[in-house]
Subunit: 413 residues, 2 copies
């Protein structure tokens, strides 16, 4: 430590265009919403905003679930809140793993004292309904936990049939929609999804740090069997439920229901600025319309992919099950592990693209087109910059081929 | 659900002056910092900001601890991250309870499979060093967990002697500094505090949703004995430590050390806007100077208290151990449970004051003077409004007595 305070400079980062797997550029309206002055957590003005957030996210999730609320943490916090609240010690949890985040779900289930079983598929592929049903028949899980889209592999697992299967076998279906929500359809009631969590930093184009979740009355009831009220705020006569206490206080959804419900029983202090951000993200999405927003993600990905292929880059993953908001491409052998291309893109052109994790680290690049970033000008900007960088780094492409192909997609619509 | 989206209005709450127990009004510079455009989490510009946050909070905590970082959640998330990472199942954890948050620490310890023991004191009182030492001698805890200041009771536990006692008996001292940090001295190295967590929404005058924590190398080593790396990002050859896995993934400080350290191993996606807020909160505090800021809180509380007493209101809690940032007063019998006075203050004068929890609910009001709110003009505004409201609600005071007394404090300095 020095004698004088070290204060550093005012925040003033160089501009970036975030076309990696997320976070992505935040909608300017959302950035502004976060500058709204705070209110007290029990101020009727503020609790009304909390109520509005519930109404907004019910529309986002296409659900009637009363229990639709925010967990105050990043997407991963929402995942853990859901899993640790629904998994009772000793429950069998099936995690079909098709990418990094399947491993995460399994690990969180294990840390919640579940008996975990998993099925695996090659990274870049998804599961058939038959495979899923067979696993459920064999292992008889109480909970199936799966991601809708896993950015690590850029593919999307169909969920409609899985919802029906889980209903048939009477197990709870938890879906991690962090990477997909907003850019890909997810009508949770229609698809029989019992509990879902998401984040803001992908297609909702907000900052990381708030996790919208939703769950059915049946799931709520299951959780309330484990309700324990904090000693410091317990009203006289309150008796704990007889189920095993949820191992986390912060992620105890029984307590969060009390905080978000009419009792407004204090738990944490709601992260007001992130709630403002969450609210504005939903307003922007709903104003555009869920279907319009999904269509925009589809069209933009199509244009980007067409451009990449025209530059002789090879797309990664099952072509029938790609996410509509992130694109994987094999790194050409001329570019080694792709790190120099990524750093040229970032440092010289101000554009962030990603690689992936585990077996795909240094094998694929990932280019995101999500939320505010998901637009024609960014596709063209990215393709033209990539053409320059690739050619300078030894991978030769035909001049303008990528941009021309992208233009063609836009012109045919 | 209706057929058309329900979007609600743009955020535009009526102005409030937040003089409750927190959250409080956010520094305008912090609100602006949150509007900074995002960067990717591994962008060198962003990781540099993460490094700067570590340097800034080392100065705030007056520590050399390498492990000084943010937990992405509210203050309660920071508490749970600390406790669940240091408590091994079966450890004995002593929680000296002098208010609501002592109960919370005990409960989180219990959920982390600790054997919990606690000592209690009347709400509004603190523990003597002898009482604490006796309890430690008797119960031989591995961990002592205590709040520095508990807003529910507005008093502050001295910690210097407790630090020495814990050192002598070789147990880890965890301190919850949520309510006190910034407004009250907390030199953690000098006081032998092993691990500490805080929040932004009190004297740091930021939004809730980020929790600065710090812990010693010895604590880090203890935690690293429980390190398990996530399967989806595990490099070949990595072997798990042999200690029991930490029950939470999100709050696993072994993983957070990897994310904040030179390896930058991905865990959650850092909540960038809240990091910007945390950074600016620390910059403002350090620019003012820790001692100056504490002095401002002391002076402001003194002026407020003098004014309240001059209005014949009775202060709550041990006069020798009051927090310097929040004041408790008994609700006069003329005002019942005080709810009408609070709602008049809020709805008619735009000023939020609080009541308390549990045995003090409806028995005391709590008036906070923290961070940006902690200034003469707000003391005078609050006292004059309170005089109007109290008299209209049947508690008679001498005209101008509160404001005059507050002026006197400022004039003598």
């Amino acid at each position: 430590m020095t004698d004088y305070p070290v204060l550093f400079e005012e925040l003033d980062p160089e501009p970036r265009l975030l076309m990696g797997p997320g976070p992505v550029d935040v909608y300017p309206r959302v950035l502004r919403a976060m500058s709204t002055p705070l209110q007290g957590q029990f101020d009727p003005q503020f609790t009304q905003y909390m109520d509005q957030v519930q109404v907004l996210y019910r529309q986002v999730f296409k659900t009637r679930n009363q229990q639709t609320l925010l967990v105050n943490g990043t997407a991963r916090a929402g995942i853990e809140a859901c899993l640790t609240s629904i998994i009772r010690p000793g429950d069998t949890v099936l995690t079909p793993i098709f990418g990094r985040f399947g491993h995460l779900l399994k690990e969180i289930a294990k840390r919640s004292s579940a008996k975990t079983v998993s099925i695996d598929t090659e990274w870049g592929q998804i599961f058939t309904a038959d495979e899923l049903e067979a696993a459920i028949k064999t292992h008889k899980p109480q909970v199936v936990a799966i991601s809708q889209g896993d950015t690590s592999v850029t593919v999307k697992q169909p969920l409609k049939e899985l919802g029906e299967i889980c209903k048939k076998y009477n197990c709870i279906l938890y879906v991690d929609a962090t990477a997909s929500l907003g850019g890909n359809a997810l009508p949770i009631d229609e698809w029989n999804i019992d509990i879902v969590s998401a984040g803001l930093q992908k297609c909702l184009s907000g900052p990381p740090g708030s996790s919208p979740i939703s769950f059915t009355d049946e799931v709520a009831e299951r959780i309330l069997h484990r309700k324990h009220t904090e000693a410091g705020i317990r009203a006289p006569g309150i008796v704990d439920a007889d189920g095993p206490i949820i191992q986390s206080n912060y992620f105890d959804l029984a307590m969060l229901m009390d905080y978000w419900g009419p009792d407004r029983l204090n738990h944490h202090t709601e992260s007001a600025s992130m709630l403002y951000a969450s609210r504005e993200c939903a307003r922007i999405l709903l104003e555009e319309g869920l279907e319009n927003c999904q269509h925009r993600h589809q069209l933009t990905s199509r244009a980007l992919r067409s451009g990449l292929q025209a530059m002789d880059l090879e797309l990664f993953g099952d072509p029938n099950h790609r996410m509509d908001n992130v694109t994987g491409i094999y790194i050409p052998k001329e570019c080694g592990n792709g790190a120099l291309v990524r750093s040229d893109m970032l440092n010289d052109f101000g554009i962030e693209i990603g690689t992936s994790f585990g077996p795909l680290d240094g094998k694929i690049w990932r280019i995101g087109t999500m939320g505010y970033v998901c637009r024609k000008s960014n596709v063209l900007r990215c393709l033209s910059a990539l053409e320059m960088v690739l050619n300078r780094r030894g991978f030769k492409t035909k001049q303008g081929a990528g941009v021309d192909a992208a233009y063609s997609i836009y012109e045919e619509t």
